[in-house]
């Protein structure tokens, strides 16, 4: 190691250490940067990050219609069997049999919020919601049916 290299090492070390200290020093003098949410106290004003994922929900519009065709792409995409889709056969006005959704069973207790089902969905029927207060007294309550009773497929979605 040459003398020049040695001195250069010392200066580079000091420079990089000061760089790190600048970051923490900035946070020290700018308490506004604090991102802690005081959760139970600020329930009303709680602001979660956009990418926060709490549970899978199915979108329903005002006519109680959803976009799920019962294709089971989400069920296949799920790595740990969280989703179980029960299908039925509807008779279309043309007299043909057509596969449709009967019940969308979602096991919240198995879900890891990996978002793979949402990405797999070809019609954008399911999304991730930000609700995270899932505690219940009985495990059975965590098995949910995502399509609302009486809902049907929105017209025009194949």
């Amino acid at each position: 190691m040459s003398i020049k290299q040695y001195i250069q090492d010392v200066f580079n070390a000091i420079k990089s250490l000061l760089k790190g200290m600048r970051v923490t020093g900035y946070y020290f003098f700018h308490p506004k940067e604090i991102i802690t949410e005081q959760y139970p106290d600020n329930k009303a004003t709680l602001k979660l990050a956009d990418r926060f994922k709490g549970e899978v929900v199915m979108l329903h519009d005002e006519n109680n219609e959803h976009a799920c065709t019962g294709c089971t792409a989400c069920e296949l995409a799920c790595p740990n069997g969280t989703i179980k889709i029960i299908t039925q056969f509807d008779i279309t006005p043309g007299g043909k049999k057509k596969k449709a959704l009967n019940t969308f069973v979602y096991h919240l207790e198995l879900c890891t919020m990996c978002n793979l089902c949402v990405e797999a969905c070809p019609t954008g029927a399911i999304v991730m919601a930000q609700n995270f207060e899932h505690s219940v007294y009985d495990r059975k309550q965590l098995t949910k049916t995502l399509n609302k009773p009486g809902s049907k497929l929105r017209a025009g979605i194949e």
């Binding site: 250490l17 946070y27 020290f28 604090i34 802690t36």
Partner: protein, 358 residues
């Protein structure tokens, strides 16, 4: 104006008047002991709280904020919890050494308090080798750490203690050389003389570049000596659970924890005395008016202000830098700090001989 010096003199004369002679001396010693213990307790509570808040803000968190207003009573609650806990001694441990170690480390910390000047004419023991005394007594704490690690009969404790021994012995060298560098300028080892020599400006301003280099080296070396991150290999939570105090619980653990913070205070006080003028107010050469205004701020506030500023610096280090590996740690000392501090000492000698300082 009430100063610590005036209170001290009042108490001293009252004792002399009402008790007199040897008994007054004994009473003063007991009073001093109580004062030092109180200072330790207050410092422990304050510094632990400060550390937790500083670390929280630096990591964009809030820190303790539930116990008392803004979390101010958090450390008191923690202390209460530690006092109520059982102080276990493991079956295979060397009982005598195991129980002695926490007291050893506290005794070492307490002894160093003697020559530190907290305010103008407010010092427990004014000895003419003050700085030498501090650096020699400070090395006793490594014996307590080795004692704790060895007697615990636990591989993590032993490893932590051995690392700590290697670390403290190596870093004491560069800390010592940095101290000697400043002693070259002052020409005296007495704490009072060192402070008095900074009446027309602190050494960090008067001593030019060598003083600044010595200051940086001293701060790095004492951070390592007090076993704090980024040099906390002796504890290294992720590798050795808690290092040398793994087996300690309750108040015995609290004593180790307290000693760590007391040692931080002590090394920062020493740095404040050597480089920032101890209790000496900020004086600039011959600006009489400015110096006079600065004199109105009590000397104890100057001392504690400087010390806490340096404690803040050390906390800043801890919450910024990642921990070093043992080989990196020893490389830093033997290949970088020691040669640089020796060269720096030579440079300072030239400065002192040519009288380039003010």
């Amino acid at each position: 104006m009430i100063s610590l010096e005036a209170i001290k003199n009042a108490v001293q004369s009252w004792l002399q008047l009402h008790i007199g002679g040897t008994l007054a001396l004994v009473a003063e010693s007991i009073l001093l002991g109580i004062l030092v213990i109180t200072l330790f307790a207050v410092l422990g509570l304050l510094l632990v709280f400060m550390e937790r808040k500083v670390s929280a803000v630096m990591q964009i968190r809030l820190g303790p904020n539930r116990v008392g207003p803004k979390g101010w009573l958090q450390t008191s609650a923690d202390t209460l919890k530690l006092m109520l806990k059982e102080g276990l001694t493991p079956d295979g441990a060397d009982r005598f050494l195991f129980n002695l170690a926490p007291f050893m480390i506290m005794i070492a910390a307490m002894l160093i308090m003697a020559p530190i000047a907290f305010a103008k004419n407010f010092q427990i023991w004014d000895i003419n080798i003050g700085v030498l005394y501090i650096s020699s007594v400070a090395s006793i704490s490594v014996i307590a750490i080795l004692m704790a690690g060895w007697s615990s009969n636990n591989k993590y404790s032993l490893l932590g203690a051995m690392r700590s021994g290697a670390q403290i012995i190596s870093y004491e060298l560069s800390a010592g050389v940095a101290v000697i560098t400043m002693i070259i300028l002052t020409g005296s080892l007495s704490v009072n003389d060192i402070i008095a020599s900074q009446e027309n400006g602190w050494w960090i301003f008067k001593g030019h570049i060598p003083a600044i280099i010595a200051f940086i080296i001293f701060m790095i070396a004492v951070t390592a000596e007090t076993n704090r991150a980024p040099f906390d290999l002796a504890e290294a939570e992720s590798e050795l659970t808690a290092g040398f105090h793994t087996e300690y619980s309750g108040m015995k653990f609290a004593l180790f924890f307290l000693a760590e913070y007391i040692n931080i205070f002590i090394v920062c006080a020493v740095a404040a005395i050597l480089f920032l003028g101890g209790w000496m107010p900020l004086h600039i050469g011959n600006w009489q008016a400015f110096n006079h205004v600065m004199d109105y701020i009590p000397s104890s506030i100057w001392f504690f202000g400087k010390t806490f500023l340096l404690i803040g610096l050390i906390m800043w280090f801890r919450w910024t830098f990642p921990r070093l590996r043992i080989d990196q740690l020893l490389n830093l000392e033997w290949k970088y700090l020691l040669p640089i501090s020796l060269l720096n000492m030579l440079l300072m000698t030239i400065v002192a001989i040519l009288k380039w300082y003010l």
